[in-house]
Subunit: 80 residues, 2 copies
DNA sequence: TAAGAATGTTGTGTAAACACAATATAAGCA
DNA sequence: TGCTTATATTGTGTTTACACAACATTCTTA
């Protein structure tokens, strides 16, 4: 119950594999998989590290409510 | 290993007791005590809820590095 | 003075966040 | 074709984030 996340989206944009992200934050590659699948939510420590890798605030990557689609999120910001 | 936090500072400003904060985020009052003492770090879920209560981003309440003093933090923002 | 609120401490128990190993599958490339 | 990389799945084990109870301490406040 859940914390939702956009790890896979940010990871895709950066062209990072799970293994590479895992190494960057110091966890087992499987752990990234568990997070992306929503099997469980990370500790704040891990969340802070992941957010740091992507240069984004924690709230942009993790949320108590489901994320809106990228299309909605981006267009509501008036960007292209 | 540590995640540092400013929960007690924000709680003091609001005049909230641990019990009240605990009820606001749905955990046991003792849990707030453990967090404030640094006995352990919260899940992202709890961190998001606590940050939400104070209307602050997660990074303002939780950090991988020790927080600077309020005096430094506030004066470096040019506020009074 | 007593009584209540806030906090600290210790202890026990459970659930969830990890590590790690093994194996399967699919896609891309030599 | 075989090899590698990325991902999914299953299983076992350890650590830690929690719940809950009991009790001590300090500070108010009636």
């Amino acid at each position: 119950m859940g914390v939702h996340n956009r790890i896979s989206v940010f990871r895709a944009e950066r062209g990072l594999s799970r293994k590479e992200l895992a190494e960057a934050v110091g966890v087992n590659p499987q752990t990234i998989g568990y997070l992306e699948r929503g099997d469980y939510a990370p500790s704040v420590e891990l969340a802070l590290k992941i957010a740091q890798v992507f240069g984004a605030p924690v709230e942009m990557l993790f949320s108590l409510k489901p994320f809106a689609s990228l299309a909605q999120t981006i267009s509501s910001k008036g960007e292209s």
